[in-house]
Symmetry: C2
Subunit: 190 residues, 2 copies
Amino acid sequence: MSLKHALLGFLNYAPMTGYELKQHFDRSIYYFWNAKLSQIYPTLNRMKEEGLLMMEVEYQESKPNRKVYHVTDAGREELHRWLREPADAPPLRIAFLIKIFFGGKLTKEEILAQLRHQLALHQERLAAYQREVRDAIRQNVEATGLKRESFFWGLTLDMGIRYEESWIEWCQETVAKIEAMTNNMYENNS
Amino acid sequence: MSLKHALLGFLNYAPMTGYELKQHFDRSIYYFWNAKLSQIYPTLNRMKEEGLLMMEVEYQESKPNRKVYHVTDAGREELHRWLREPADAPPLRIAFLIKIFFGGKLTKEEILAQLRHQLALHQERLAAYQREVRDAIRQNVEATGLKRESFFWGLTLDMGIRYEESWIEWCQETVAKIEAMTNNMYENNS
DNA sequence: CAGATCATGTAACCTGTTACATGATTTC
DNA sequence: GAAATCATGTAACAGGTTACATGATCTG
């Protein structure tokens, strides 16, 4: 379970609540991993029972009490073990490519619409990564002084950017290919 | 549900059994979508109940009877509706990048081992796509005469190849970056 | 005065994987 | 004689999403 290990990783920087962990996901690694609070809370509970975490309650009025989680020695060991363990490369799972695969059933304009929509999505994402994520890394370094860590954060961002760029190039080239076909060519090559 | 629509897409080429559908997945779109038989069989049943498919039983001795599925008009309409519907771009979900993100906890050799392993995985896949998938497309065109469709099949393969190439480039550049660091630099920039 | 932020969860549901069950025929 | 191919499934489990539940305080 990767969520478990991502949580260990963040808690290893500093003790936090589930709510704060969610913010870390949203601000730093959301572009390659994320989770909802409804998944994070029960997972933290299980990890506590497994002895990977300790919990301290900070009492609050007019808000639910803060449950601050700390990594135990067992948790740190488990994190390190997992980090060294060879990772597999999960298969792509892209419904959009199913639409392209069976795209022969669509008209030229319909498939161009699909492609342009996909292009726009990836362009937006790329822009977001270049703005927000870069900034988030900068802010994290300033806030935590984890300068060494930021080298690794930057590596993952590079891959995120490269991924979006691949899509953008493919979409643009594919749109160009299909636009270059006359309607006659497009309809009559079956 | 994309599995449903992928099944509709294949059955729209020709009526088939669940077993044969699985082979189509394994031979043509496995690199961006796949499913196990244990998921395909119940899904076909549900689709039949929804009126998207019709089933004919071919009786056999010494083997379970073949259940051959055909797309109904409602199924064809549903396929066409889905193909036109704008597709979203699902977020990446790569546990390996979590390992890199928290890579500061690893030694230089440990992280290089991760990177080289990942590089090898993607190189193998790229080689497979360039061999097997190209061949599968060629064979499908010969077997079915769906020349027009093969243009679209090729487009998805291009994206698959591009994806693997991105990983390979990133892995190689990242390995080079880290190798270029002296051990001293690597350990002492926190 | 509406919406974001802080802060916790539970329950139902959906998708997909793994394990189990059966068994003849063909190929190496 | 072992492994792949043909051909069907069921059941348990794992991971993740959506909906529901609660409610004060801060910000625009």
